[in-house]
């Protein structure tokens, strides 16, 4: 079985993961430096600043969903740029390169319309970080989708991240592992797969995402159960 594969026949193997943050050594103190680094930084760093935050706990109402927007607001005190960057939803982009281009576009547009370049204080520079992911086997095997519905409340935050968020970088169709697995059952779980595809997970924490997944599976199988 190759790396990243979570299926074996028609069982689902639960994996878990841990993320490690690595400093790239690249820093930006003003908007022009941010733009320059965005043009050349490794795509993993862009991934980290959009998705790495999901593995950090957030509060019920996170102000911004990515680090670039948060720094624009709190480092540069540029609320207009923060709002424009904050609305970027990485799930709408085909890949990280397209996301990078849009980021650069937004920043350049702001540079064009600004009289002067915004600066942050020396101790509030933007630090470009990337992450490494360590994936490991929990040795928990789910025999059928109904059993997954029962097991979901016991899933760790790392497992939810791996199977639902990280999966989009690994699976051929850019979907999550649950849908990939359900597809093996043919037409049987089409509606469940549609429901999963419709789940908007970018603005929630992983803990909230887990709660939504539990509800989605529970509702689906409650509806399917014979009276």
């Amino acid at each position: 079985m190759g790396p990243g594969k979570i299926r074996h026949g028609q069982v689902f193997k639960i994996r878990d993961c841990a993320l490690l943050a690595i400093a790239t050594g690249n820093r930006a103190q003003n908007l022009r430096e941010l733009r320059d680094h965005l043009q050349s930084i490794h795509p993993d760093s862009i991934y980290h600043h959009f998705w790495g935050g999901l593995m950090r706990p957030k509060f019920v109402d996170p102000e911004y969903s990515n680090d670039f927007a948060a720094w624009s607001r709190h480092g540069l005190h540029d609320s207009i740029l923060a709002e424009r960057l904050g609305v970027l939803d990485p799930t709408e982009f085909d890949d990280l390169e397209s996301l990078r281009q849009e980021l650069v576009e937004v920043v350049e547009a702001r540079l064009d319309e600004s009289e002067h370049v915004s600066w942050s204080k020396a101790d509030q520079q933007f630090n470009f970080i990337r992450s490494q992911i360590v994936v490991f086997d929990t040795h928990k095997v789910i025999p059928a989708p109904e059993a997954l519905a029962e097991y979901l409340p016991h899933l760790s935050v790392g497992s939810v991240f791996y199977h639902f968020v990280d999966a989009r970088r690994r699976t051929p169709g850019g979907g999550d592992d649950f849908r990939e697995w359900l597809a093996e059952f043919g037409e049987q779980y089409v509606r469940l797969r549609e429901n999963l595809a419709a789940l908007d997970y970018y603005f929630v924490t992983v803990a909230e995402l887990k709660a939504e997944l539990c509800e989605l599976f529970r509702d689906y199988f409650a509806f399917q159960a014979p009276a």
Partner: protein, 413 residues
């Protein structure tokens, strides 16, 4: 100690311990060596005291050794420490010679163990030159920096950098502290030990007893700052904030608890200034505590109604973490690692002036529900991010990365 993991499970959660056990499976039997400069006193020793037994309980063959030197060595490393934190300190060639000699002698003593080890953690600059004395090393060597080196004094950093470049990886507490090195620079924040004397649960009766021993009336509404008497911690600003808030909160008391004044000439000067600024106010308690007054600090943090850490400059600020773990909202200076912990309006407030601190004290004491809610969030935030178990998880993940493969994905499946 057989049940250390179970004890942590009770405070950190079963899932956290289960996660650690799974991460440790591929690491069983690995020889991991930690080297630092002291077995007691200071944050590094406090962490290793628990971390090493926890690693052993997970099946890792972890050992902890220290570097031992004479007076010149410690003077040199103290100066080095200050220089890395930005002080313009000149270290003589004789001092550097003593430093390098001490490293050579200690490395020689532990050479076979170090060369055989799978992973070696060198903590801070004191034993940094061990690596050059272990030419047949077969494992991965990691330099763990616990110091704020955001703006080091360049000549000393340049001297150390030449040696550190040969390591396989380094670890910094915050991204701001990371310096340019030709290897992966991991970011792992420090942590507190929830089972240590400084953080373990205390009964109300115990808290009350300790406060009375310290001369503090447990019935007072305590506004607390725990820190060394150091200008960067802004104790004068805290007194000013107290005086501004006191006008509206007559039952308010201030406790400034710290140490370091006895062996630090500047600390003694700051302590005198603080006493003068207090001006004989009986509700201002200035406590110059010994370094091992862990239980006193624990009791004060638990008794406080609100905790301040109004630093102007701060490395990480573990006193903030300790207070948050005790369910306290923290009013912190908008600087360094405090920003990582005090999430404005969620776990406390970030402030820049004594006026700002006074305003937030008044606000919280008039909004008790908000104060309580922030305290609950603060404790959960620490549980998820800044307990020793998270620190251990990241060390395990790092060892896995370094011993198994390179690249951004390590799949142990």
């Amino acid at each position: 100690m057989k049940n250390l993991l179970d004890a942590y499970s009770a405070v950190a959660g079963d899932d956290v311990i289960s996660h650690l056990r799974q991460l440790a499976v591929p690491l069983r039997g690995l020889r991991v060596v930690h080297i630092n400069s002291t077995r007691s006193g200071g944050g590094v020793a406090e962490i290793l005291e628990r971390l090493v037994p926890l690693m052993r309980e997970l099946g890792i063959d972890a050992v902890w050794e220290i570097i031992e030197g004479d007076g010149d060595f410690y003077v040199c490393t103290k100066n080095m420490h200050n220089a890395l934190q930005g002080a313009r300190v000149t270290i003589s060639d004789e001092m550097l010679h003593a430093y390098e000699e001490t490293n050579a002698r200690n490395a020689e003593q532990h050479r076979s163990m170090l060369e055989e080890a799978d992973v070696v953690f060198i903590h801070d600059p004191q034993p940094a030159f061990f690596l050059r004395h272990c030419p047949r090393r077969r494992g991965k060597w990691i330099w763990r920096c616990h110091i704020d080196i955001a703006r080091p004094y360049r000549p000393i950093w340049k001297y150390l950098r030449g040696e550190l470049a040969a390591y396989d990886a380094s670890i910094f507490s915050l991204a701001d502290f990371a310096q340019q090195l030709p290897h992966a620079m991991y970011l792992i924040p420090p942590s507190i030990d929830p089972l240590s004397e400084k953080n373990i649960d205390m009964s109300d009766a115990e808290i009350s007893d300790v406060l009375q021993q310290l001369g503090v009336n447990p019935e007072e509404q305590i506004m607390l700052q725990v820190s060394r008497f150091d200008r960067f911690k802004d104790p004068m600003g805290v007194i000013q904030a107290y005086k501004l808030a006191k006008v509206f909160l007559p039952n308010l008391s201030l406790v400034l608890a710290g140490g370091g004044a006895s062996d630090d000439p500047e600390g003694a000067i700051v302590l005198d200034e603080v006493r003068n600024a207090a001006g004989g106010d009986p509700r201002i308690h200035i406590l110059d505590l010994p370094p091992d007054a862990h239980r006193a600090i624990n009791a004060l943090q638990r008794a406080a109604v609100v905790v301040l850490q109004k630093s102007i400059r701060e490395g990480f600020g573990l006193t903030v973490t300790e207070a948050m773990w005790k369910g306290k909202a923290v009013i912190g200076g908008d600087t360094g690692g405090i920003r990582l912990q005090v999430v404005d309006h969620h776990t406390g407030f970030l402030v820049n002036t004594p006026e700002g601190a006074a305003l937030r004290v008044r606000y919280l004491l008039h909004n008790r529900q908000k104060l309580a809610d922030m305290g609950i969030k603060a404790r959960e935030f620490v549980r998820e991010n800044f307990l020793l178990t998270r620190h251990l998880r990241e060390y395990l993940a790092l060892i896995l990365v370094l011993t198994h493969a390179n690249g951004d994905r390590i799949e142990l499946v």
